[in-house]
Assembly symmetry: C2
Homo-oligomer: 671 residues x 2
């Protein structure tokens, strides 16, 4: 295991959050890919216009940014507000601003960014230490609570913010990068090989240090990240009630076989460990992480891509423990999972990583924020049993667990995490390798890059995916030499086709199996490569070991997981059935597509839901359905936008199978 010499190994890094020095694929950044329309452009626009200002407002109002002013004024700990990790929300906000400025060049945001950076910078102590919650008289000493103090965690987010800024505005004089490097130097001095043999209770600094090393070329930062990864799992953290697996301190990273414990911690650690593995050439570590990803995806991931089924410790459950009603599926865990998957994707090139990223983006990350961008889900349940309350838009919620989306949280990690993800989303779209360009995610966008061969590539992608399944990639330049365009065909997309309309007017069609579909040619301006994905809604069955959804199916359409919301049920049944608990899906009726929405046949026994004194009996208690009706499902990410409702992703299957006689309109509520 050797540390790659950054002077030789470092590759050109664009405006990207992750710039590994080695790996199969090189990511294209915000300087090379511009999302210009469609689903994600809309999300980015809301993020730009509403979410960033919303976050800035709450950071002021809750005192989390003013904490830095108090630190600079020397008045702390008096008046400090927020949890021990509140500094990190400011850093994630800075990171989001940095990407958004890089993406859009917005001058107003630039001013906002600089003002916030100034306040942070003034709080830094002369030796580089930066945290508003530790080290002053009246506060706990620095590094005195590695289990829960989050000091290194906060710095990890500082480093990511500085990297975002350093990559997008390398010549800026705002000073954030210098602040980060001073803090990183201190971390290396305190926690280096001969220093404190500890790790942070919440991983994150690993990924921050690795990226800072990539940006600055400073090998000590990478070495420190490597040290933190190597120390993890050796039991340096004091045991807690939920066991050392909560911190991933139970098993060394390279010996673990699956993600476990706190789901955000687990994924941030895994992402940082991939960074270390690829930058140090540690194939064993990389292989261990790939195995962890495989097992976690095979056994511990919700159909939405969400991870973490315990509320108690925000943690992964055991294999197959994936209850929809108590799904925790924290928004931040989804974002951390995307970070992990993307790094493996760059290292290994397999489309499965992009499949999970897509699933997680559409079904968790897109679910958290409201359409308006100023309210959020912290956890993302797959089954809402009772209509939630409507949160006060002016009050921070605890977790929004039994309400509609809330404006802010006491622990408000998710809103700025969503903001930085949307602001840097263009960087998940495409990569290059020596053969050409790979399209990972489908969005209307412009791709402009130069291949290693020197070939300049200009591609425009047009699609209204996921509304329809056509993704048209148009070459805008004549190529000098042949190169390969690769497009990810998702695993769900059996029956996809690739249609090549060349500039000369010829059209060829081939089937496109899941994986990479490739076209190699000397592209001519006007050549169009069109991937046609089958968007008909489909029924999806769970592995029978996921006991919590036995006898149920989900409906998916393209990358979107769908759900039944009581609003639609009420309408379709003309008020005879109002609760999603009371229906079964007639799978024999199939799933229709109604203007891009799945339409399913449901059956119910109105009034059969009366309680029995004891809910267990010698005879099956399943009520015989007496009415049937067709109900449209909505994409899961759209739920809870029409007021309090009940909702479920997994629909119990009518059993015994409904026969034609019982589903005709005679017994239907529609008749």
């Amino acid at each position: 295991m050797t540390i790659a010499d950054p002077r030789t190994a470092r590759r050109r890094a664009g405006f990207v959050p992750a710039a590994p020095t080695t790996g199969r694929l090189r990511p294209l950044g915000l300087d090379e890919v511009h999302i210009t329309g469609g689903f994600w452009a809309q999300r980015q626009s809301v993020n730009h216009r509403h979410t960033l200002a919303h976050i800035g407002h709450w950071l002021e109002r809750e005192g989390w940014l003013p904490n830095f002013d108090r630190a600079a004024a020397g008045s702390l700990p008096e008046g400090r507000r927020g949890r021990e990790f509140s500094d990190s929300e400011v850093y994630k906000y800075l990171e989001a601003l940095a990407w958004e400025i890089g993406r859009t060049g917005d001058d107003a945001l630039e001013a906002t960014f600089r003002a916030a950076v100034d306040r942070v910078a003034r709080a830094q102590e002369p030796d580089g230490y930066l945290n508003t919650n530790f080290g002053r008289p009246g506060q706990a000493p620095r590094w005195s609570d590695l289990e829960w103090g989050h000091e290194l965690y906060c710095l990890g987010h500082l480093f990511q913010a500085a990297v975002a800024r350093g990559r997008t505005r390398p010549d800026a004089d705002d000073g954030l990068l210098a602040v980060a490097c001073r803090a990183a130097d201190l971390v290396c001095a305190v926690f280096g090989p001969d220093g404190v043999q500890g790790v942070c209770g919440h991983p994150e600094i690993e990924v921050g240090l690795a990226e800072l090393a990539r940006l600055t070329g400073e090998p000590r930062y990478l070495r420190q990240a490597e040290l933190f990864v190597a120390r993890r799992g050796t039991g340096t953290l004091r045991p807690i009630e939920w066991g050392q697996q909560y911190f991933q301190d139970d098993v060394p990273v390279r010996r673990a076989t699956v993600l476990r414990g706190h789901a955000v911690r687990a994924n941030y650690l895994a992402a940082g460990a991939v960074d270390v593995a690829v930058d140090t050439g540690d194939e064993e570590l990389l292989a261990a992480l790939a195995t962890q990803w495989d097992n976690t995806v095979a056994r511990r991931t919700y159909i939405t891509g969400g991870q973490g089924s315990h509320h108690q410790d925000e943690a992964f459950g055991e294999d197959w423990v994936l209850p929809p009603d108590r799904a925790y599926s924290e928004t931040c865990a989804a974002i951390a999972s995307i970070m992990f998957s993307w790094r493996l994707s760059l290292a290994r090139g397999d489309t499965r990583y992009g499949d999970l990223i897509e699933r997680t983006l559409y079904n968790v990350v897109a679910t958290s924020p409201s359409a308006g961008g100023t309210a959020f889900y912290y956890a993302n349940t797959l089954h809402q049993r009772t209509p939630g309350t409507v949160p006060d838009p002016d009050t921070a919620s605890l977790r929004a667990e039994s309400s509609l989306r809330a404006p802010w949280f006491g622990v408000s990690c998710c809103p700025p995490n969503v903001a930085r993800t949307f602001a840097s989303l263009d960087a998940l779209v495409a990569t290059t390798d020596p053969q050409g360009v790979q399209v990972h995610q489908f969005a209307t966008c412009e791709i402009r890059t130069r291949l290693d061969s020197g070939e300049v590539v200009a591609l425009d992608v047009e699609t209204d995916y996921p509304r329809s399944g056509s993704v048209r990639v148009t070459a805008r330049r004549d190529a000098v030499d042949p190169w390969t365009l690769s497009i990810r065909v998702p695993a769900w997309a059996g029956g996809a086709r690739l249609v090549v309309h060349d500039a000369a007017g010829d059209v060829s069609t081939e089937s496109a199996a899941p994986g990479w579909v490739t076209v190699r040619r000397a592209f001519r301006a006007g050549d169009v490569v069109e991937l046609v994905l089958p968007m008909r809604p489909r029924l999806t069955h769970p592995d029978p070991r996921i006991d919590a959804v036995r006898g149920s199916v989900a409906v998916e359409r393209g990358p979107e997981v769908c759900c039944l919301e009581s609003v639609d049920l009420d309408r379709a049944s003309h008020g005879t059935v109002t609760d999603v608990a009371d229906v079964r899906i007639d799978t024999a009726a199939g799933v229709d597509d109604q203007d891009g929405r799945p339409l399913v046949r449901l059956v119910a026994a109105p009034g059969a839901g009366r309680d029995r004194p004891w809910p267990y009996a010698e005879r099956p208690l399943e009520p015989a359905p007496s009415v049937s009706f067709d109900v449209p499902l909505i994409p899961y990410h759209e739920w809870a936008e029409r007021g309090p409702s009940t909702m479920r992703v997994w629909l119990p299957v009518a059993t015994p199978p409904v026969t034609a006689d019982t589903t005709d309109d005679q017994g239907s509520a529609q008749s």
Copy 2:
């Protein structure tokens, strides 16, 4: 609402934990009922011989009893050990000792009890305050943390201990009752009508005060209990992350419709509120509590009788949220539920309360302790997915959540709670009313009492229930006048019969429907009334709204819920199937009885449990079974006694139904 005058309303109270002044039934105490053999006598013997000494050992070793010595010596807070509520474990231990002394007259226990009481008494402050964790220099002030301090909660257990002693040894000079009354007087002074308008974060003092009022005739104690019940739900406790329902401080007791929040808190509160309702003649409150019981049993109770499905807050989930694998089902919640049910049973006389008590006793309370009585489950999962670890018998566990039973816990409420329940179990067996005697629970025992009419009743009950279903009640005296013997026929016991063998040799048989079956006559010595309960194992289906067990059945036999443990699966399949995740039950094959154990036909597809890269698919993933075998189930309370294992109560049903062809021995692992 008036306070009943205890001078007129108080009834004769025997050695009973609950002595309501009004109500349909009067409980017979340990002085009137002696369990002499069978299932519960065995449990009581283990409790007497092993558990009580085990608890005493750990209370010394963990410093929880020595905390009182430090208090008396004036050296606290230095050296204080244990959680803020550790005093209560000492009090529950005292209560268990008091009942056991009352039950057995054991001189060695009497000496142990007196020595412990002396140490507690010396710690009491001159004004009656008694708590080792508050009020001294260096400790938080008295009553400064009503949410979490547990001071009143601890006193509630002190009062229950004093009542146990006062009822069983009314003339003893140990001083415990005086200690309790001094503390109760202080509580009334501090929290009375014009005092602190607060309640304890953990209900329990209500039931303690009510019983102390009954024992002493002091109306202030009852009035204080009534005040605490009336204040609950008015939001006097500061909100916490899990909401005020955690403390039952969200809704006034008389307005609530179901138990919610922390399951132990909810049931202790409900038990105390019944005490207040019946002693003050508050029919509205009593009716509200009965409704809460109905709804909780209909929608929020596990088949075992266990309550509480959240690990996070040890709380009830929403209606129908009853996951078997993350069942919390805390042992103490079961005991608290029995306290609530028993009080409603006495007030209202309905057999449904006894049904739930029986279910909970056999399937939660009996499950917690090991056969040896020196290790315990704190939570009682209904599905163990991975074999648990073997705890060190010399180390306190956190919760024994992923291990076999543990010797002790950091929060060790359950062991002494089990001990006091077993020691006072005789008091749950029978009651009287003006018409006669009611037998609620089936145990070999002697019942000796005097009816209100003056009639002296002597009954001997013989049964090896639940091994068999015959319960023989033999009259041992000739009656002067006719009186009524009532026996509870459990709701599960469709087809029960009552056989009366009279002393003259005549035999009559009648069917006995669930509810009370009665025989009214002038009993002659030698008359035998035999209840014959159908003990054939039966399949039980869940309400379909309990999504977590959809498509599964449980097997019950008599009052016992059964389970499949991997040890038996491994043997029966000759090692071809070792994990309870891999089998389905062939319900068409029925359930046989093999020497009192259910024998079920299981099917499996060995090797089919391999992972797929993604556990959701367009086609059903249920493997087609290729082998079948018959496996004995064990009573759930016997599980985890044969080393680490996997276990499940709910067995997924083979689907589609297995046909005769696929289940014959051709494909069987037994062939």
